[in-house]
Symmetry: C2
Subunit: 210 residues, 2 copies
Amino acid sequence: MGTRTEAGRRPERKLTRKGQETRRRIVAAAAQLMYERGVTEATLEDVRAAAGVSSSQVYHYFSDKQELLLAVIEYQTQSVLDMQEPLFAELDTMEGLRRWRDALVEYQLRLQCRGGCPIGSLGSEVAETNPEARLAAASGFVRWEAAIRSGLQAMHDRGELDGDPEELALATLAALQGGLLLTQLQREVRPLEVALDAMLAHIAAHTTRG
Amino acid sequence: MGTRTEAGRRPERKLTRKGQETRRRIVAAAAQLMYERGVTEATLEDVRAAAGVSSSQVYHYFSDKQELLLAVIEYQTQSVLDMQEPLFAELDTMEGLRRWRDALVEYQLRLQCRGGCPIGSLGSEVAETNPEARLAAASGFVRWEAAIRSGLQAMHDRGELDGDPEELALATLAALQGGLLLTQLQREVRPLEVALDAMLAHIAAHTTRG
């Protein structure tokens, strides 16, 4: 699994603090453009202009668009996980799972149901044309799934869940992804709500207390 | 709902039989290229060459790429629904739901888990840049969801299901879509299996017999 989860992540060169900030500004600009226009339509020249840097700066940090794309997938994975981080620790109770569900729904409402999942959107776009980027997106999902599984595993270890934490976590992530896609296409939060509620009811049915 | 489900579908001009065949050949070629390369990368010239027709023929049937894209979304929706059609009639029993689940899983195995959902992939690619195409993809999902709901509604009407058929159908479609995306990214059928099994178990828990 080690090589797989690290797919496409090159060791970063040692950068000065200012260098790290510039690199991050380029990645954030690229992430925004790829989100708005798609990977194909976001050119390095667009990224350069949006980040307010020179061409030589872009090429100082990224040898080509592929390297930048992999950095964007990593950046989006980290953003998605960071945002949920405070809630992950509580996924070992039904109340915690419901708070996580509510936070995901509220976040989509704030976005007016636009954008879908940044990892899912990138993954879907590159899946059949760019194996390295596909693996990077898959590895982002492996990390997300692990965070969900960790809570369910704790419930299981306390004897409060009699289902398989691994399967339940994977099914929950799938319901979440499908819910986000349908929510994005319909611009209504209901698909996400209904999908997550069904999975939480399924998990609740496997709990050994109320 | 009427206008919504018809989103982006223009009334077709009366075509001769040969005209219908040529139009269909162009749409099928476009669907294949958009599937392989993405919507943006598939140019009208590529489509023309792949379909083995002249430029003037392409423009005879489609005024621009947008019109062709909408025809491709309709074509992919119809293909996806046609393939499941024989199984839809049986979605009013748990056995029928399981056969449908098995058929979806086997189909992905035959594809070596490549391609994901044609409607979901197109929808994800156009969602933030092309509202008309987004609505066309959303309308494809509305039809798919209706086919699933119809079986669950029949179970409900016979007094064999005490859940809400509409919510269960939407949640099942979401689990299916998320399962397909993760299966496509990981090139493993397990996410699809686990996601559908969880939803079928959830539905089974709402049945009033066995």
